[in-house]
């Protein structure tokens, strides 16, 4: 798989950098609703996503981003809860006229938790760690455009790229700046964030303490404890009994009513970037035929599916692009629900009597529910679906690595991940040379406007080709005790900034 084709997780919001934002502002979801709050409060956070280890370049998973990103570790840039890229450890930066050189000036007086001062060497080390051979960073492929990292002085880092990459600064927001002398980062930490790691008890909890020597505004609470649950109803019980103050991402729609009808809780409906996909293997018959893919897309009533899984929450989407991405366009009317059209397309494709295929279905919610629904919908146009339930592990080997499938269900969580359709070797096998070219050109565009324009074309083309069937966009629901304010609402890419959370005494 050529990773160079995937460099385009671009940003249209780099322009927003011109507006210097204050250190800790901009990312709180709610404002303190008057009254006094306890500066030394302990905030208990309930989550279903325990880190696998503490290193985001060694397979720490979604949980390590949630707990440590922005709280314990910081990058040169930060992706705010609203999806904007803002300067964090970088005080300023300049781009060369050729678009290939970036000169970053580091913020002064930043200290690691171990006491050492931040220098350009640490930035170099951290970036090299992401690019190392054994790195499991999801951004490794995007950052491989880095050709050279120079450190002319303690506060200056000069990076040269092998080709233009408009998403470079956006991608840097995923690189944690780590003390170059730190050891054993899988079980300990040495970052610059507003909290230090107090203790990680595997299978139970991870606690963070306010860092006294933080360079910016001190955290609005003294301690944060992430409590980990395997069972969504155990997590809801913890919220109901005040064992936790906030749930980072509610995954149990049935439980929402009890919080909505209770004045002691607040149910927040934020913007998610998680899409549920019916991904065809575009390189395997009959899904090589665009008409078959369009027919299947048109035969499934996405709206009804969303309602049956999430009640009134979530959104319908017509493509891979969520509304928060800069190149969003409402394409729900492309291949919209239309059984008559589906039947017509099928007979045009030579499948008037239908066909049958196996749907590889991950064994956890909401995939089995969606699979059953799809099976009953497709039966109406003569297509027989055989549901094959598999574990996430089997999915990874069978579908992702070996491409041994007809169609599968999968959730894709990241923002700006439309660009995967530009990679013909990706698991779904969508291969449109024009799209691949657009994606490459977009990454090398000289302005975000140019990038956005090209990616809008990609968006429309993949939707018209029914490259996959995008079933719906998940809701992002944060449920919190009413005493709490300042928590993030969108949880973009699973981040959960805790430093602005205020708790009433």
């Amino acid at each position: 798989m050529s990773t160079k084709k995937n460099v385009l997780f671009g940003t249209a919001t780099v322009a927003a950098l011109a507006v210097a934002l204050t250190a800790c502002g901009g990312s709180g979801g709610t404002s303190a609703s008057g009254g006094t709050w306890d500066k030394d409060a302990v905030v208990n956070i309930g989550s279903l996503y325990e880190p696998q280890n503490l290193d985001n370049t060694a397979g720490g998973g979604q949980g390590v981003t949630e707990a440590l990103n922005g709280n314990v570790y910081e990058g040169l840039f930060r992706l705010t809860d609203d999806g904007e890229v803002e300067k964090l450890l970088a005080q300023d930066y300049e781009t060369g006229a050729d678009g290939l050189t970036y000169t970053f000036t580091l913020r002064d007086g930043v200290k690691f938790h171990s006491g050492k001062e931040l220098t350009s060497e640490d930035v170099k080390y951290s970036l090299e760690k992401v690019l190392a051979d054994d790195s499991q960073s999801a951004r490794k492929g995007n950052l491989e455009v880095v050709k050279d990292i120079a450190t002319p002085d303690k506060r200056t880092v000069k990076i040269t790229l092998s080709k233009k990459s408009i998403s470079f600064v956006y991608n840097l927001s995923y690189v944690w700046i780590i003390n170059s002398q730190a050891k054993d980062l899988k079980t300990t930490e040495d970052g610059t964030g507003p909290y230090t790691l107090n203790k990680w008890t595997r299978g139970s909890a991870l606690s963070l303490n306010r860092f006294a020597d933080y360079w910016g505004d001190a955290a609005a609470n003294k301690q944060v404890v992430f409590h980990y649950y395997k069972d969504a109803s155990a997590l809801n019980n913890a919220l109901l009994t005040n064992a936790v103050d906030v749930v980072t991402s509610e995954q149990s729609p049935d439980a929402l009513e009890q919080f909505k009808s209770n004045g002691a809780y607040k149910v927040n409906d934020g913007n998610s970037t998680t899409k549920l996909l019916l991904a065809f293997n575009d390189k395997a018959k009959p899904f090589t035929d665009v008409k078959v893919r369009q027919a299947v897309s048109a035969a499934i009533d996405d709206k009804k599916l969303l309602e049956s899984v999430w009640g009134g929450y979530g959104k319908q989407i017509g493509s891979m692009v969520p509304p928060t991405d800069p190149w969003y366009e409402d394409l729900t009317d492309v291949n919209a629900y239309d059984v008559t059209k589906a039947k017509k397309l099928l007979s045009e494709a030579g499948y008037a009597k239908g066909f049958s295929f196996t749907l590889d279905t991950p064994n956890y919610d909401p995939h089995p529910t969606a699979a059953t629904f799809i099976k009953s919908q497709l039966a109406k146009v003569g297509i027989t679906v055989k549901i094959n339930t598999i574990t996430p592990d089997e999915w990874y080997t069978k579908v992702y690595k070996n491409h041994d499938f007809s169609a599968t269900l999968q959730e894709h969580v990241n923002d700006r991940d439309l660009v995967w359709y530009g990679n013909p070797d990706f698991y779904w096998g969508y291969d449109n040379p024009q799209v691949t070219r657009w994606v490459e050109q977009a990454e090398e565009a000289s302005s975000t406007a140019g990038q956005t324009e090209l990616l809008k074309k990609v968006n429309r083309q993949t939707a018209e080709d029914a490259a996959s069937d995008w079933l719906y966009l998940y809701p992002q629901i944060v449920v919190a005790n009413d005493k709490l304010s300042g928590y993030p609402l969108n949880g973009l890419n699973s981040q959960f900034f805790a430093y602005d959370i205020k708790k009433k005494g």
Binding site: G59, R202, G203, V225, A234, L240, A243, D393, E394, Y396
Partner: protein, 321 residues
């Protein structure tokens, strides 16, 4: 007795060695790749290969096996593929939850089941004797998670007397808090366990009540209580102890459902997570320790039975042979 002990301990050691081989081989036969847990969607083939190399799952099986046995011999359970934390200390931390949970539930179950089972047998013609039998029958049919949810709803959500789940992050540093968080799980396990125990106690008691030796003892002038204490209890307890040993051993790992309902960081949930992630060192470590525990429990149960019942003393293992 000394010779018996030596032979019994040798038997234990051989069982453990065999178990470790079977464990290793069976795990490797499962489909799946432990590197999957470390890579994310978007990983390149190079990244996947690097993950395999980092955890050593790309090395030949005999080499991996020798490595593991070598570690075991030096008392080291290895390091988790996924978390990079040593397995031994984590198992120890999980046992801090699982051992008190299992033992307390066990004791409570015995305290409930022995008098209830005895009464159900001795007073089987009264209404409450029948009721006890009926309730225990019903109890066997109740799923653990359902009972757990009911107890949580009543005592945690409504009354607010006890926490609905979780275990303090600092463990037993705050004993009162730790005990509070174990009350409902202990009661849940004990109720379910006692339901089946009551039936064993009842049938063992019935055997004794109908026995010739008890009738003879009564004929020779013993009171009912005296005859029961001298002859009855001893005879009835032999089969019950067998069952108790099995129950205790199965609760050690079988508490996984209860651990999930009550969000407890016990051994069962460690095993479940390990299996989901194909984290071989974790699975091997947990199963090795629990195999050891099961063998030791069996050993102790045998010893106790031999002390109670002289007729067993010529045999190597328990009343089952």
């Amino acid at each position: 007795m000394a010779r018996y002990l030596v032979r019994r301990l040798a038997f234990l050691a051989v069982s453990l060695a065999l178990a470790s081989v079977v464990l290793f081989v069976l795990l490797r036969m499962l489909p799946g790749d432990p590197a999957n847990a470390l890579t994310s969607v978007g990983a390149s083939p190079e990244q996947i290969a690097a993950a395999r190399h980092a955890i050593g799952s790309d090395r030949p099986l005999p080499e991996q096996f020798t490595h593991w046995i070598g570690q075991l011999a030096s008392g080291d359970l290895g390091t988790s593929f996924v978390s990079s934390l040593p397995v031994g200390p984590e198992v120890a931390a999980r046992l801090d939850v699982t051992v008190p949970l299992t033992l307390a539930a066990f004791v409570l179950a015995v305290l409930i089941a022995v008098p209830a089972g005895f009464t159900a047998a001795h007073k089987r013609h009264t209404w409450y004797g029948t009721l006890l039998s009926g309730v225990s029958q019903l109890g066997i049919a109740i799923p653990v998670f359902w009972l757990g949810m009911i107890l949580i709803a009543v005592f945690a959500l409504n009354a607010g007397w006890l926490p609905s789940g979780g275990f303090p992050q600092d463990g037993w540093d705050d004993p009162a808090e730790a005990v509070r968080s174990l009350v409902l799980p202990v009661v849940t396990i004990a109720l379910v366990m006692s339901a089946s125990l009551i039936r064993y106690v009842r049938s063992a008691t019935l055997d004794v009540l109908g026995s010739d030796y008890l009738r003879t003892a009564r004929a020779l002038g013993s009171s009912f209580g005296g005859a029961m204490r001298r002859h009855g209890l001893r005879n009835a307890s032999v089969p019950v102890i067998s069952v108790l040993g099995i129950e205790l051993a199965s609760t050690l790992l079988g508490a996984v459902v209860v651990e999930s309902v009550y969000a407890l960081p016990g051994l069962g949930s460690m095993l479940a997570t390990g299996i989901a992630q194909h984290d071989y060192p974790v699975i091997q470590g947990v199963l090795f320790v629990s195999t050891l525990a099961v063998l030791v429990i069996g050993f102790v149960a045998d010893l106790v039975q031999r002390i109670i019942d002289p007729r067993l003393r010529g045999r190597l293992s328990g009343g089952s042979r």
